[in-house]
């Protein structure tokens, strides 16, 4: 690759270009514009995330307030009002699952939780904002043996089969792994 003058010319240009890259990189890293450009992108992402969290917290405030005070029926009605505008929103689905589980409607709770978490896994992540990981984990631990027993007793129990499938899905999400 050093056969003739053309080869040598190309190598010279190549080395010059490497020097130009190094110089431009060094210059860019020193300048505030480069840092600002990348900070802007990260900042924009953080702002969007914060706005999302604030918006959700604001939107569902009547629901979470009723849920925390143990007024589950009221929480469910308040949720119905929100869902009129956002029928399938993931956080609403998860909240509905949590409320229903508190009210003992486990089959319906599992259906809602699985639907919500399929839409957005954030709500079950260990470090996810607005995460209901512990509630869901407790539900899986407590309910899976019961549904397994129901299915073992009656293989035609389609409701138990469906709920068991939801439980296994939630169990898998809780176990983590790469998505």
């Amino acid at each position: 690759m050093f056969v003739d003058r053309y080869d040598r010319l190309l190598w010279a240009v190549f080395i010059l270009l490497l020097i130009a890259i190094a110089t431009t990189t060094a210059y860019s890293l020193q300048g505030s514009a480069y840092v600002t450009q990348h900070n802007d992108r990260n900042l924009a992402r953080k702002m969007i995330e914060r706005a999302r969290l604030d918006y959700l917290a604001d939107l569902y405030a009547p629901v979470t307030a009723a849920l925390e005070s143990g007024d589950y029926s009221h929480a469910l009605l308040a949720l119905g009002e929100v869902q009129r505008s956002f029928p399938d929103e993931a956080y609403g689905q998860v909240l509905k699952g949590v409320i229903l589980s508190k009210m003992g409607a486990i089959d319906a709770a599992l259906e809602s939780l699985a639907a919500g978490i399929k839409r957005d896994g954030n709500y079950i992540d260990r470090n996810g904002s607005l995460s209901y990981r512990e509630t869901v984990a407790a539900l899986v631990v407590n309910q899976l043996p019961l549904y397994a027993a129901r299915v073992a007793n009656d293989a035609g129990d389609t409701i138990a089969l469906t709920s068991k499938r939801h439980l296994h899905y939630l169990q898998s999400r809780l176990a983590g792994g790469c998505e």
């Binding site: 029926s73 009221h74 469910l76 119905g80 009002e81 009210m103 129990d157 409701i159």
Partner: protein
């Protein structure tokens, strides 16, 4: 007899039977009636369940006819053999099961709790009525007497909370005519009554439709969840037909459509139903226990 003669006779029988079996299938479809419990009016019931009935006819090959039936006539007309399939509330199912061995086909899913719902006792927010013990001496409105989540569940809840509706209330009433459940919610909202026995499902639906808001009312108490509307089949019905209808109901999805007068109609949406699921008869024990405690049919004692 030689093998050849056997084959000739068998072939002849096949040739003769083929057109005959074709005639029977093409000419005479089985006919059957489905009794649908009226919610508000016959016209509404017919309109609601026409697509579902057409779907079942299409799926099973049986010509079904929808028969709207008032709640208080339902058991009697069923006993007279007017219809072989029933769509009723869970209390009527329990009664018909007890009296006539009605078979459970599938339970209707609607609202947040799927195939179940609950009864609530509500008061207007700010009325000073905050808990069940505040009910004493108040004016209360119930839903129709055969309504599991509009009467039975609340009556039972009050009895279990130490309140006798017959003695402890100032008085109680039951609205007449259509839209009884909405009437009692509005009755409390506009102050005609202090408290009402409202089905949770109706509160859900009215909230979702924007007719009321969650903050308009205080929920004083809520009953356990009980199965909601239920499809049943007469005991004498052929098992194959029962199974076919059950399968047809369970396979319904929100996307299932049927042709009604040249228009594609969504079956479930038209019937205000989210779907069906296969409950077990034991799931209705909670209704039976309530009926026993409240002294209602089929366990009523005089």
């Amino acid at each position: 007899m030689s093998l050849l003669r056997y084959l000739l006779i068998a072939g002849l029988l096949v040739v003769i039977s083929l057109p005959l079996s074709g005639c029977e299938q093409a000419g005479e479809r089985q006919k059957m009636k489905i009794g649908y419990m009226n919610c508000n009016s016959e016209a509404e019931t017919r309109a609601r369940f026409l697509p579902l009935t057409a779907y079942l006819s299409h799926y099973t090959g049986i010509d079904f006819e929808a028969v709207p039936v008032d709640t208080h006539e339902f058991a009697e007309r069923y006993a007279q053999g007017e219809f072989a399939l029933t769509h009723s509330n869970s209390l009527l199912y329990v009664q018909l099961k007890f009296d006539h061995e009605l078979q459970l086909l599938a339970a209707e899913k609607r609202g947040n709790f799927g195939s179940r719902s609950a009864g609530t006792i509500i008061a207007r927010k700010g009325s000073g009525i905050e808990k069940l013990t505040d009910l004493k001496g108040k004016r209360m409105v119930f839903g129709p007497m055969m309504a599991p989540t509009g009467y039975l569940a609340q009556y039972d809840l009050m009895l279990r909370s130490g309140i006798d509706p017959e003695r402890d209330l100032a008085y109680y009433a039951i609205p007449s005519g259509s839209f009884k459940h909405e009437k009692l919610v509005y009755g409390v909202y506009f102050g005609a009554f202090d408290v009402a026995a409202a089905p949770l499902l109706d509160l859900e639906v009215m909230t979702r439709e924007g007719k009321i808001t969650a903050d308009d009312f205080v929920i004083l108490g809520q009953s356990p969840l009980v199965p909601y509307c239920t499809f049943g089949a007469a005991a004498k019905l052929v098992p194959a037909v029962v199974e076919k209808v059950r399968r047809a109901l369970l396979e319904l999805t929100p996307e299932t459509t049927v042709d009604i007068a040249g228009e594609r109609v969504k079956v479930l949406k038209s019937a205000w139903i989210d779907g069906f699921e296969a409950l077990r008869d034991a799931d209705y024990d909670v209704v039976r226990d309530m009926a026993r405690r409240v002294n209602m049919p089929p366990y009523q004692e005089y």
